[in-house]
Symmetry: D2
């Protein structure tokens, strides 16, 4: 099985990403579950704005989209800015909007039987809201969101340090991250064995 | 298999509930899936405020909680007020907050292997937000939220008629509702056959 | 000038409310601004469910509504449950929904020229989302929400202590609270001197 | 007085923007209020990702930022994608994040005394949520959000036509837009005459 992490940090490589650091905890647990992980940092790629699967010349999205299609598990990993998921994360969701009308050879939505989770870091409050917004978008697109399939880290109240600058709270966020990886792997296996059904279409 | 609908209308019986009318579309499809449905209108019961599973004398929640425990599928059904889920819906979520620390005999969270969906009606915009907030809360508690497991109805923009007053848009909302019932039933069966794993606990 | 705090804790008096403790910081600053404060704990009153200004016999809302009408500043103060504002807070918003169609003698919406702020406490993340939802609802109803008119307190990540149990972070939350009180008082004075205009109505 | 509209459509010029079409209704009303309007379509500019006021060579944001500083009224105008504000809108908010620590010569936050509103179009539900998220972000930054300072348009339920493709509901959205312009202009005038106070800073 394959897990794809879309890292939605605003910082191009090789800058250190706090969000990817927390993703690393899931990656390690996925390995124990025989799930192969790949982290793609979207800001390094030229993802064109739009809501089509291919926005034309120079668009890096089609290759990301292929990775999504090939994955069993998608993890959206985003920093928190003003209490919201990053513009890079929103751009990826907008590009996945095209999947709303794309189908598998058997006629079911193209994202069906895949599962998704969310990883949030920040220097302030906002994680539950981001999990809510991103999970809703992914459920709309056709992903299943398992129980306890997210983790987050920030200290409160008010602005504070970043995940890689401070050890506080790591024990909680990392344990929750490992459980998220367990649940994502298990739910992906369950849907692989027993896929979602045919849908009643528009006539 | 059993589906429990928690109807979160503000109107006590026997007033007609638009939200329950839309739930009826899922109930019918559940029947075709051999899933038995029960709709509980929470406003008719004395659900005490609080975040414990039993808030003491006269509290009607413990019986509702038993029904949740016995169900494979939970559907939260709520009207839209000022763009938000109803206070009755939020009270039910608060009472389910206690489940965060309750476990099955095998040590896993008590809501694990159950799936959940959301039904929203309104006389105005707000449904995606409510699906996001309620799904996030249910995922926190331990429910799995399958792809396309919600439906909604309202006309826009601005305030307008209610679901039972107007046929417009019913075709879309009802078809989406039937698909939600299919997906909830299938995901519940998948998790019954292949349950979520043990969790790494706090030492 | 008058400030009304609607305390939306789930705990009846005389239990200590963390949310009210944080409100106390605003009350003190309001005093320095010659703004008189009143805190009403809604759970102690029989606020009937519904969306009318008077839901009939035994309904305690009409008196609360009078206090809102008499106030220049409204502060919604709520705990965080599953990342959301409390059911008590949502019930108050639902009851204020009736104000959407109520007007002053001069024909303008009844909440016009009043300002509103939000106070959030919790044992976990969720404050920005609650500020967003409650502010949006209040702006819909007709309140103006000034810059920096909220404060919050919680420690992260994951569940932790309550505001009154722990001194950490109080300096930040309390300073932000005092600034919120300054801004609410100033904006209320500005709108008193220069009220919002007549509205173009439905013909 | 000046109003700046940041148009956050995903479509580069000269494609027709539904969101800008609805902004046009506010522009016309602002003219009657002697408020000068400018609409900037952000997707036409090279707005670099990041959270600084100047992200270096080729960054088009510093000029946009100057326009924000010069304006009395900011209107964020965004389409709805998967129930959320657009990535272009989120990028603008991220760039405004820098304003959290920028001050006027008198030491007050740089966005103080400015007011803000929100315009949302979509082919589906999501407007209240977007008004909530964007208003919260702007209030954080230092804008004041007046009563009834937004408008939106979409038809529901489910996906449908765009604003410029369909006359349905325009009467409501346009009237609400004109009132938003009235309220934004009036509140801007009030804060110009009676500015927000000094803030208690971190020592």
């Amino acid at each position: 099985m394959k897990a794809l992490f879309l890292s939605c940090t605003l910082k191009p490589s090789p800058a250190k990403s706090n969000t990817e650091a927390l993703c690393g905890v899931l990656v390690e647990r996925f390995e124990a579950e025989s799930v192969e992980s790949e982290i793609v940092r979207l800001i390094d790629l030229d993802i064109k704005p739009g809501v089509k699967s291919d926005q034309g010349e120079g668009d890096a999205w089609p290759k990301v989209r292929e990775k999504i299609i090939a994955a069993d598990i998608l993890v959206m990993a985003t920093p928190t800015w003003l209490g919201q998921h990053s513009s890079v994360c929103q751009r990826a969701l907008e590009r996945m909007d095209a999947m709303l009308s794309e189908t598998k050879p058997d006629g079911r939505p193209i994202a069906f039987d895949k599962v998704a989770g969310v990883v949030v870091t920040g220097n302030e409050d906002g994680a539950h809201h981001i999990v809510a917004c991103v999970s809703q978008a992914l459920i709309d697109i056709g992903f299943t969101v398992p129980a306890h399939s997210w983790t987050y880290w920030h200290l409160g109240p008010g602005p504070g340090p970043d995940y890689t600058e401070c050890d506080k709270g790591h024990e909680w966020s990392d344990r929750v991250a490992r459980n998220a990886a367990r649940n994502l792997a298990a739910a992906a296996r369950a849907l692989k064995a027993m896929p979602l059904p045919e849908q009643e279409g528009r006539e």
